[in-house]
């Protein structure tokens, strides 16, 4: 039978998925990883927290694929039954794993928590299963081959834990199994300030390539192009990527702000660090979002001094020195006020540069002249101040407007630094 089986499948376990309570972001994340690793993947399934239906789904998968990747149902509560169901499906007894128990105890202790009932169950794995360690949480997974040429990997449903376990243990394990045919390598290029369809049009000939392939992905304001090449080895694959990357960077020009793990915040911080310059922020509608994005980058303290969240007009006056008369005449959401905020932050914090944002994130507070989605941005630096007016519209909501404002503000500074 083994010759009929091929590739990987993903099985997500959780009644919350069947009730439509949450999006299956784990399936997408794993699918993207499998594609990146060059591992064939032909089916995804979802079942609820139900032992019979889970058993049926596992047995069906065991007849079709060589690696089954399961997420969910590894917690301590009674509806977490993935491990015990897998064990009973293949008639293998569960075994207490002292090393898993010790790891749980250490983590609970570090957080000042006591061990609850049900925790014991998390240290039970089928006989013969290897531990798939969870570096961040208490729910360990396993790598288990219950029958020849069929291996099950289990992960908890919490995305951050699943991803950390994947990167630390599952990915290297999968790479060693020889399931991939050759090596896939990929490189992401990141763009800001250009729409997905416009970018796709500009790089159209590359989207037809077969090796490397080039695929666009759109997120909140950001567009990514993933260049994926297959080769006998990494060097071969990288050699296929290089010329395409270079050509696309040329086409993208200033809209391409970086690759792979770059973010607008990290790129701006790197630029300022090289110059030995400092940065401050002054935020109204983003309320700390620009500061949070910058301080999300480790090492940002070299560059970012801090800032003022000036949500109320009085704070714009008192802490940033925005003239009362200007606020009254132009309104808080205006080019002149956002410029005064940036200049005020630069002075009050004695920084080389300052970013300021003021806008109407909605849903309330809009008018005909100043509708929801209107945001003014400013960047003040050693050579003066630049402002930018954006009209994001109201149809995508408050989070979208605030998120785009953060990105556009950082991008405005990035363009000043080029």
């Amino acid at each position: 039978m083994s010759s009929l089986r091929s590739g990987c499948e993903i099985l997500c376990i959780g009644t919350e998925l069947l009730l439509g309570n949450i999006l299956n972001s784990n399936a997408r994340w794993i699918a993207e990883e499998l594609a990146r690793l060059g591992l064939p993947h032909f089916r995804q399934s979802v079942v609820g927290d139900n032992p019979e239906r889970l058993r049926d789904a596992v047995l069906e998968a065991a007849g079709r694929c060589r690696v089954l990747i399961c997420t969910g149902g590894l917690g301590p509560t009674p509806d977490d039954l993935t491990t015990e169901t897998l064990a009973s499906t293949f008639n293998v007894p569960l075994q207490h794993r002292p090393e898993v128990m010790a790891d749980i105890a250490t983590k609970l202790q570090a957080r000042g928590r006591t061990m609850a009932a049900g925790t014991e169950k998390q240290a039970l794995l089928p006989q013969g299963a290897a531990v798939l360690p969870n570096p961040t949480g208490t729910a360990a997974g396993m790598i288990w081959t219950p029958q020849p040429d069929f291996t099950v990997l289990t992960f908890p449903g919490v995305p951050s834990e699943m991803q950390a376990m994947w990167q630390q243990t599952a990915e290297p394990w999968l790479q060693q199994q020889g399931l991939a045919q050759g090596t896939f390598r990929s490189r992401q290029l990141r763009f800001w300030g250009i729409g997905e369809s416009t970018l796709a049009e500009r790089v159209a000939p590359y989207l037809e390539y077969t090796n490397p392939t080039v695929a666009p992905y759109a997120g909140l304001g950001e567009v990514k192009l993933r260049i994926t090449a297959w080769g006998e080895n990494s060097d071969d694959a990288d050699a296929l990527i290089a010329p395409v990357e270079q050509a696309i960077r040329q086409i993208g020009g200033q809209d391409c702000f970086g690759g792979d793990n770059d973010s607008l915040a990290s790129v701006v911080l790197d630029q300022l660090r090289q110059r030995g310059q400092t940065l401050a922020v002054a935020e109204s509608c983003t309320g700390g979002g620009v500061g949070s994005a910058l301080t999300g980058v480790s090492g940002s303290s070299d560059v970012l001094l801090g800032g003022v969240i000036a949500y109320a007009n009085r704070i714009k006056q008192d802490l940033l020195g925005v003239p009362t008369e200007l606020l009254e005449r132009e309104g808080a959401v205006s080019a002149s006020v956002v410029e005064a905020m940036a200049q005020g932050a630069r002075q009050q914090l004695s920084s080389d540069w300052a970013i300021a944002v003021s806008g109407i994130a909605g849903p309330g507070g809009g008018s005909a002249a100043k509708p929801v989605g209107l945001v003014h941005l400013a960047v003040a630096g050693p050579e003066g101040c630049t402002t930018l007016e954006k009209r994001y519209g109201c149809h995508r909501g408050r989070d979208w407007i605030r998120g785009l404002s953060v990105g556009d503000a950082l991008n405005l500074l990035r363009l000043q630094l080029i």
Copy 2:
């Protein structure tokens, strides 16, 4: 065999889902609708644009369920092969449908488009299949019963078209089939400051309930309990939820901060709004995260005045008035400095309350005495200042430490307001 089959399944067809290029938002949307309509739903599957694998998935589903809801693969391009594969799976010939063709022609004409190659194929449906009209796009679906007690519904993958077709035709059709057994209703309770397993232990008897069911979900610091009830109608279901909700709220006590759409930020803002009091923030390691969480709630400007992002020590001194001597003696990450930050923010911004955060988010900057993950929190109010020391450890990384700090800071204020 029909007695073994029950409920509905969702089958999403598209190689882009297997490559992880897009999130399967259609499965979630349909799942939520099925739950709302009280239709049992036990499995979701995804296959690529591959006739053999699609056929296998359909035949498997035909052995398990009574209604199979398919999305994707109804377009004009060569990789759109859902309809023809379904027809061949059940050995039924395709039939040209002039009314479908006429509808496509009308729509293309209205948009000034000519008929492309492949369009003809969209007017072919299996003999005996009813048309599931597409009010907005050109890809019609079908409602087809290829074998007794097994019906397939097909929808295009474009979410807006699928949803319009669902609401106009599929939902009324499903309601007439007598598959629904009453109505499902659900209610979420949200907790902070208690682990999933500890909460599960406290509410253990309720986790065994069958109607309503109670299920825990853990996120970043937050734990949710979802109470889901089935009843003949919504009132019956709600009546089952009410006493369980009340009992669990009692057990949860102060750890339960709200329900459904509440967040720690929204709850704190509501409390302060009722008191007519204002709030300011002073953030070091969270760098604007507390402000961003608060301003993420629409209407927060009634309560939140703003704050200071005091990332560098100099800003703690200059903008918050933290004594230099205190910073030198105790260090920036200390109870006395975070208290001085909160008091400083309260004074500088003339607010009733202030939240302050200072900690070591890592990965660098830790020491034996002050390791990565050590965070000091303070809440200053009309009756004095409360501080809290948290040690999150370093194993979950910077984002986790910062995210927990934001939640714990808001929660510290919430507890002061009770």
